[in-house]
């Protein structure tokens, strides 16, 4: 019946009286990159932990390749490649030994995993560092090693928790490039992120999470189109200006307004926004730009992603 790599039906995770994930459903399809976008504390990482069997599901049904995560934990875990947020590489072992020891946890000897290890090291540009200590690597290299480590047993699904959090822009782009390469090879990927540009770059489909629930689901471009109306006007204006402006603009068809701190966001078709922009006295305080996933989140929750 269900052959989707991951299927969740009304899954709930409670820690005591706190509900971290509140009855969410989703399905990840074969070969796609599926994203969980949301601010810290939205329940993204908890969802990933439930999929990877390190945090038991409180309620609902969650399957990986048709296997129940509670009953068949070992079989589920053998199909997943996990890239955790904090890398947790083994500092007592060299770069290469990290991969060998990890492959052994999946039942592969150093000999069996050898070709995969060589390939992963070369793909992630770590071959020359193979004998080095893990602590001597840069942050970007550590992350690449963590991704390599998740690939040596050739998992069905690669799961990445905030894959570029804490990396500098250059290291980040290198990681994205490698992930796009894996995607082109048909690797099914699940990732969490609070960076909307990351989600837009990598994800075929995503869900936006907030306070343990899924707000919306879809392709990044469709979501942006639907919720931001294509383009967004950002205005910085004080309270005196703001009141008459809101009264005026609020009535225009197809235009929506959100206020966050000192910024007013106007969502609407490009030409309408451009006309509104002309009315603001100081052009330096008005900024017209294409819509993005951050706007989707803003529209749905009335707050920013990075709060």
């Amino acid at each position: 019946m269900s052959t989707n790599p991951v299927e969740a039906i009304d899954i709930v995770k409670r820690y005591g009286s706190f509900t971290a994930v509140d009855g969410i459903s989703f399905a990840v399809r074969d070969g796609e990159c599926f994203g969980f976008l949301g601010p810290n504390g939205a329940g993204k990482s908890t969802t990933l932990k439930m999929i990877s069997c390190t945090s038991p599901v409180t309620e609902g049904r969650l399957t990986v390749a048709g296997l129940d995560v509670g009953r068949d934990a070992r079989a589920v875990k053998s199909r997943l490649g996990i890239v955790p947020q904090d890398d947790n590489l083994d500092p007592d072992l060299s770069v290469r030994k990290n991969l060998e020891v990890y492959a052994r946890y999946y039942g592969l000897s150093a000999k069996q995993a050898g070709p995969q290890i060589d390939e992963a090291l070369s793909l992630f540009q770590l071959s020359e560092r193979a004998r080095d200590r893990v602590d001597d690597l840069s942050g970007g290299m550590k992350r690449r090693l963590a991704i390599s480590r998740a690939l040596v047993h050739e998992p069905q699904i690669l799961m990445l928790d905030e894959p570029t959090t804490g990396l500098d822009p250059q290291a980040r782009h290198l990681v994205w490039q490698k992930l796009r390469l894996l995607k082109a090879r048909g690797v099914t990927m699940i990732l969490t992120t609070h960076y909307m540009d990351e989600a837009a770059h990598l994800c075929d489909r995503l869900v936006i999470m907030h306070r343990g629930t899924i707000l919306t689901e879809g392709r990044p471009r469709d979501l942006v189109e639907e919720h931001s109306g294509g383009s967004v006007l950002e205005l910085r204006m004080d309270a005196i200006e703001r009141e008459p402006f809101l009264a005026e603009v609020g009535g225009i068809d197809g235009v929506a307004v959100e206020e966050v701190e000192d910024i007013v966001y106007v969502f609407g078709a490009g030409d309408v926004s451009a006309r509104i922009a002309e009315r603001v006295s100081d052009p330096n305080r008005a900024f017209l730009r294409p819509g993005n996933l951050e706007d989707v989140f803003l529209r749905l929750t009335g707050r920013g992603l990075l709060d």
């Binding site: 820690y15 932990k49 990877s52 390190t54 945090s55 038991p56 934990a73 070992r74 079989a75 875990k77 053998s78 997943l80 996990i82 955790p84 904090d86 890398d87 947790n88 590489l89 083994d90 500092p91 007592d92 072992l93 060299s94 030994k97 020891v101 990890y102 052994r104 946890y105 999946y106 039942g107």
Partner: protein, 264 residues
Amino acid sequence: MSAFTTSPDISFGAYRVWQRNRDVLLQLWKSEFVAQLLEPVVVILALGIGLGRFVELDSGEEYAAFLAPGLIAMFPMFAAVFECAWGSYVRLEMQGTYRAIVATPVSVDDVITGEILWGTTRSVMNASYILLVATVLTPWLHMVDSAWAVLIIPISVVPGVLFSAISICFASIARAMSQFSYFFNLVINPMFWFGGAFFPFDQLPQWARILAWFIPLSHVVSLYRGLIDGNLRWGLLADFAWITVAAAVFYWLALAGMRRRLVE
């Protein structure tokens, strides 16, 4: 389902965890071994020969000979404690090693079992080495009187499990590295001094002997003393039973404690 009532989920993965620790030791063996090889020799020389000259035991035994079983029990205890208290806590909290492993098909119970097997391995290696040193020195210090002493090598597995498991139990409830000073000062250190290694219990008042019965190390020392002296008696089986039961109980508690810590 409580962490205490779940039946253990153990597989070959425990051996993978043991292999991981072995590989780390093989990378660092030079610095690891030198200290461990020297320390017992220093202690035998200082206490056995140095202090021993001033000690006269009622049994007429030489002090170095009296000390031998205690050393063979004590140093392996430290080896297990070092691996499974500090070592485990570092792998649990500082390095994230346990969390990395339980994301693979290896279970929490495998990890803890593998760690205890590793602490036990270090413990048995240590006991074997000190037994060897004591045997080599026997022509001069009369430390080993009986061939039964060779049984200490297989038997030392049981106290190895016991002290490793006790250490993991503490690591599973510790919230900071600094808390290990409580473990060391309130548990391990008193056990070291009052475990029967340094002075005989039989001259002590009744209450002290009753108290000693509750000290795990005292049963290990008593058992080893019997095997080294060749003075076999039923009481040795009671000592062996005591440490076996305690090892099983603390192994169970170690699994439960770490499940609570690692399963969110």
